[in-house]
């Protein structure tokens, strides 16, 4: 009995001690989420001012962050918020700031340049935005000048669109057993290639919708050992454009972490397709697509939404071919701002440098999502 009491007293003491430690010396992320009210960062140095700004953005204390800016007279608080999270609903609208980095670039007694890298936690992973801030001294405080980029606002107008739309009526649950149903779209893997990487085996390839109707597609692969036993099965997840219009081609990439190509006897590929209601709109043009060599190898270009519909989330998938035209690699990027009609939006897809040297040609496809339904 006395042992039980002793244990209870001990646990209570430990709990109180942990509470005191957490309150007096909180970890930085806890400070951010608790609005930073407990520990106020000083703005007595340029770095401290930007740290404070980063904390306020992470806590979504927009008014406090805006009030601390040196150039706030040039734009409104709403402009500042839209600059960070988008004027139209986009990937960043529902994101939270996970962490940020402050990188001093230059400093003098009265001004400094600091790079602020914001790591947003979005539904499709981390999205990084970089802002180069000019920081000026104002008395004993330092204040940042926010490099505002006002988002283009599409003027009110009517854009007639008459692209096709497909709707599907399936057989009813009460239909006779032999009653006919609509056929699933016919899709075909037109290229497939295993790539041995340090982090594991990667299967890359291309899938064609050879039917006359839209298809919702995915690809899975099963690795078989030399004795025909199954090593692993994985799917392409989001490294594919799931909606394929007739005769459209999508690349796909399937990751098998910690598997070496030498262990694999064969690969069984399974393309899956189902009918889906879809629209041929929007049409996205890819302009000025350029392959930039190593170091920092990347595919850059601009997306132009040729339709009248705002695209809230765009996913760019790049397919890279070797000199013989075989698929070498697949990489992707989510665009963190909405694609407005007729407004070019840049993209940049990074490529592993060892593979970039072997790239002979490339191709990009765009998967889009507009609020109100998948397109």
């Amino acid at each position: 009995m006395s042992k039980g009491r002793l244990l209870a007293v001990f646990l209570m003491a430990v709990t109180v001690a942990v509470l005191v430690i957490g309150t007096v010396w909180p970890i930085p992320s806890a400070v951010g989420y608790s609005s930073g009210k407990n520990i106020l960062r000083s703005s007595s140095t340029p770095e401290a001012a930007i740290q404070s700004l980063g904390d306020q953005i992470r806590a979504q204390e927009w008014h406090k962050a805006y009030s601390g800016l040196a150039n706030k007279a040039q734009f409104t608080e709403a402009d500042f918020v839209h600059n960070l999270t988008g004027y139209y609903p986009s990937l960043l609208t529902y994101a939270t700031l996970d962490k940020f980095e402050v990188l001093p670039l230059h400093a003098s007694a009265t001004e400094a340049d600091i790079r602020l890298k914001l790591y947003w936690a979005t539904v499709v992973g981390t999205s990084v935005t970089t802002h180069d801030l000019h920081v000026v001294r104002n008395g004993d405080r330092w204040e940042a000048e926010w490099p505002i980029v006002k988002e283009t606002i599409v003027p009110p107008q009517v854009i007639p669109v008459n692209y096709l739309r497909w709707d599907v009526i399936y057989r009813g649950t009460g239909d006779d057993w032999g009653a006919q149903d609509v056929e699933a779209p016919h899709v075909r893997i037109v290229d497939m290639h295993p790539v041995d990487r340090a982090e594991g085996l990667v299967i890359v390839g291309e899938l064609l919708n050879e039917d006359v109707v839209p298809a919702y597609v995915s690809v899975s692969a099963t690795l078989l050992a030399k004795n025909q036993s199954t090593i692993a099965t994985e799917g392409s997840f989001d490294k594919i454009s799931h909606l394929l219009l007739p005769k459209q081609v999508t690349p796909f990439l399937i990751n098998f972490p910690n598997v070496a190509l030498s262990d694999v006897g064969s690969v069984r590929m399974t393309p899956l397709s189902s009918l889906v209601s879809a629209s041929a709109d929007p049409v996205i043009e890819i302009d000025n697509e350029q392959l930039n060599p190593a170091p920092g190898a990347s595919l850059t270009g601009q997306l132009t939404n040729q339709s009248g519909q705002v695209v809230n989330v765009a996913h760019v998938l790049g397919t890279f071919y070797d000199k013989s035209g075989q698929v070498l690699w697949v990489a992707d990027q989510y665009i963190d701002s909405a694609l407005l009609p007729q407004t070019p939006t840049p993209f940049e897809i990074h490529i592993p440098e060892d593979l970039a040297r072997k790239v002979g040609s490339q191709r990009a496809v765009i998967a889009t999502f507009s609020s109100g339904g998948s397109q």
């Binding site: 692209y163 497909w166 056929e183 050879e210 006359v212 049409v283 996205i284 043009e285 890819i286 000025n288």
Partner: protein, 289 residues
């Protein structure tokens, strides 16, 4: 009074059609009964008993007076299969069995046609399978001729007659060279079932585009796309225009509209523009203006 007489006459007629009777001691069972048809079971002896008939999906129970004939009206037993009969008296129980067979008249056809959509000119591309059932959804195992008829909008008709084996008949037919919606009809003993099969165009054949200056851009347009049989390729089919210039590339996927794909691309002197749809490549244009 009339209905009772009809019931009695029907029962006696059904009983007369039975070729052999299974003896079960105190009861006389029919060897076979047609599904849904009236039948009777005779009993021998004195006293009261209970008759149980147990089969696939059905159980019947009757209180009987031994020595009398028990009549079962139409529709009493309708699931084809093997049935057990048990006559439980006060001192003993008698067992027997008999079979319920499907009716010989087809009433329902389950017609499975595959696929619902296929390319033109596919040899044996369309398959049809028919299962013949009686009014109570019993598969009729006796051979029946089934007629399969595939008719296209142009009036071409393919007809196959197949005899069912163990209740099923199947066939394969060719898709024709013309796109459209075909009617696929299966008939057996006056009963028919219809399915539709869409014949769709194949890959584009001879994909060709032209280019002209439109302000600061190039207006690209394909000729009306047709497959190798001359069928118009369906609207919505994706056509990809690719322009390569000075080490850069522009590309756009455009859906066919009214049989033609059109796009505007940046005008760069020396640019090479190509067109493709799926795995089909079209012509190339070198833009010199």
């Amino acid at each position: 009074m009339i209905s009772r007489f009809a019931f009695l006459a029907g029962s006696l007629a059904a009983g007369a059609m039975q070729l052999a009777l299974a003896q079960g001691g105190n009861m006389v069972l029919p060897k076979t009964v047609e599904a849904g048809v009236a039948f009777s079971i005779s009993s021998i002896g004195n006293g009261k008993a209970t008759l149980y008939i147990v089969g696939p999906g059905q159980v019947l129970k009757r209180d009987v007076q031994l020595g009398e004939t028990i009549f079962f009206p139409q529709g009493s037993l309708y699931n084809a299969g093997h049935y057990l009969a048990a006559l439980a008296g006060q001192t003993s129980t008698e067992n027997g069995s008999f079979d319920v067979l499907p009716a010989n008249t087809p009433v329902n056809l389950s017609f499975t046609a595959r696929p619902s959509r296929l390319e033109v000119s596919q040899h044996d591309g369309i398959t049809g399978a028919v299962y013949v059932f009686d009014a109570y959804r019993n598969l009729i195992a006796t051979p029946f001729p089934v007629s399969f008829e595939l008719s296209t909008p142009s009036g071409t008709v393919q007809k196959h007659i197949v005899i069912t084996r163990r209740g099923a008949a199947w066939t394969a037919m060719d898709s024709t060279s013309q796109q459209g919606v075909d009617r696929f009809v299966a008939r057996a003993a006056g009963v028919s079932s219809t399915r539709v099969v869409g014949q769709v165009p194949g890959d584009p054949c001879g994909l060709k585009m032209s280019a002209r200056q439109l302000g600061q851009k190039i207006q690209l347009a394909t000729e009306p796309l047709r497959d190798c049989n001359g069928n118009a390729v369906q609207d919505g089919t994706i056509v990809t225009f690719t322009e390569v210039y000075n080490g850069a590339q522009s590309m756009v996927d455009v859906p066919l509209k009214h049989g033609i794909a059109e796009a505007q691309m940046p005008a760069h002197a020396g640019a090479v523009i190509s067109v493709a749809s799926g795995v089909v490549l079209g012509n190339q244009i070198r833009w010199e203006r």
